[in-house]
């Protein structure tokens, strides 16, 4: 029985962790190219959740189309808000931009509040019971989440490895000055990274809203854990975001076997401290101090 409990808790961790991976991938892609931790991923997760809600519950689109809407809208908002608010601050140090991204988050959250109010909303999709497989339960939606995360991770990995645009992004991440004199326009690449990163955050926000509800604070439910995930995996590394997300997810859920649930956030930060003590740049981080 105790063994089963541990396995179940591990699975819960994987399930929760997959919720974190998409926004964490978004965060890490933006970090890789723009070199600052964007707190605005939380707000863009919320933007995605609302965009999906409007598509699904207002316009009656099926969930798959709603996902596309969440992805596109949050990506576009990501590009526009970056151009307007953060781009002029580049070159003033990553922390200044990071703090500006917190301010941007407040602005976006309140734009949504202004437009939609504080009510809780839900998608027009039925809930499914979990499957029971020899005493272990797994949720269909969560399996979909996991598959989506892994497929997207592989797709992103392949994109970076094999496509021209992906290599251009890596080049800018590696050395923006050299990239610009070799004909890769860093601004285009930054825009693209912003679009893609915030779109992933928006998609993640939709998945979270499926499990929770749509409201102006939905992105904040995962803000600290996704940062924890990205750091543990190594900021800037896409596989790192996935491994980090799963690590944080598993640690938070399994910790409930031994400590009271009120300290889940503390567990995330305990994990960060342990991982960074052993590997100062996280599991897959390339740059040290």
């Amino acid at each position: 029985m105790a063994g089963l409990e541990i396995v179940q808790s591990l699975i819960n961790g994987v399930v929760y962790g997959t919720l974190l991976t998409l926004p964490a991938m978004g965060l890490t892609i933006i970090y890789a190219v723009l070199r600052f931790p964007s707190f605005a991923v939380a707000a863009h997760a919320t933007v995605g959740a609302f965009a999906g809600y409007v598509a699904n519950a207002v316009f009656g689109m099926p969930l798959l189309l709603a996902f596309a809407a969440g992805f596109l809208v949050s990506g576009l908002v990501g590009v526009l808000s970056d151009e307007a608010a953060l781009k002029p601050l580049r070159g003033r140090g990553p922390l200044t931009v990071a703090i500006a991204s917190i301010a941007l988050t407040i602005v976006l959250e309140n734009v949504l509040r202004f437009a939609f109010g504080n009510e809780l909303r839900g998608y027009d999709v039925p809930l499914q019971r979990d499957w029971m497989i020899s005493g272990i339960r797994i949720g269909p939606q969560q399996v979909v989440n996991l598959v989506v995360s892994v497929v997207l991770m592989l797709a992103i990995f392949a994109f970076f490895k094999f496509t021209r645009a992906g290599k251009a992004m890596r080049a800018v991440a590696d050395n923006p000055m050299l990239a610009s004199i070799r004909g890769v326009d860093p601004n285009m690449v930054r825009r693209f990274a912003n679009f893609f990163g915030m779109a992933l955050a928006g998609l993640g926000g939709m998945l979270i809203a499926l499990d929770t509800s749509v409201n102006p604070l939905v992105g904040f439910r995962i803000m600290l854990p996704i940062f924890a995930a990205a750091i543990v995996g190594g900021m800037g590394s896409v596989p790192g975001a996935v491994v980090g997300g799963l690590t944080i997810g598993i640690a938070e859920q399994m910790s409930l076997l031994v400590i009271p649930p009120i300290y889940r956030t503390a567990v995330s930060f305990g994990v960060i401290m342990i991982v960074l003590t052993i590997r100062p740049a996280g599991f897959f981080g390339e740059r040290g101090n």
Partner: protein, 308 residues
Amino acid sequence: MVNYLIAMLVTVGIYAVLALGLNVTWGMAGIANLGLAGFMAVGAYTTALVTKTFGFSIAAGMCLAVFASAALGILVSVGTLRLRGDYLAIVTLGFAEIVRLIASNETWLTNGTDGIAGISGPWRGQLSPVQFNWVYLGVTAALLAVSLLVCQLLARAPYGRVLRAIRDDETLVSVAGKSTFRFKLQAMAIGAGIMGLGGAMYAHYISYISPDVFRSLISLYIFLALTVGGTGNNYGALFGSLVLIALLEGSRFVFATVPAINAVQLAAAREMLIGLGLLLVLRFAPEGLIPERPKIFTRAATDITPRN
């Protein structure tokens, strides 16, 4: 009305002390400490507990608050200062959340989410509320002056120059044979101590503290105040706090005249304004309204990326 203005001036004073603490860590030493709410909480809880439970005087409580926060600052630093700046920012943000969780859940010590009510204030019993407000304005002014003095001495001393040098180019300083770690550790201790003082001042003024006071929003407000005023400049911390409160409070009056949108939209618009305010200052007055000092190269020269 006068009473309200005094109360807001006291709030400005408390914010200014917090901003001075932040200026030591972030402004002078460049440590990205987003854990302000946590240090403030420790200061507030320390003085609340020792004055209420053990009958310490308010002065003793405040001193202990400073020491407790400073000690915690050292403890946090030992674990985190070697981290990269951006990692440090997130870890300290998490630290503040953990302090709030402990304050919420360790009921035996902190009275949990009920919070601690009835914290004493200087001569509160003997004075009318208005008189108390005046007295506390005096107390705040005095404590602010002391903090400002300490910070000014710190900034002018060779020590302050080392801190700024660490901020501007840490490698250079460590090459010069100084232990940057020790300097940063001290800056964290001093900064955290001042933040703890701010928390203690808050506790004795409002007379009630609870974990919800110490959400990360307050850290952001103080960052906003310092940035607006001028990061690195002690007077900037003071002036920025004044502007922040004028913005936070003034927006109530301005928005009250806006017709045709509902209360939630008004509240949303007010918060939007705060966020926009920070963005605009960062954009158009990057050195704050009172710049630290005219800088010629330090930042621009290290930025070799082409103009966008």
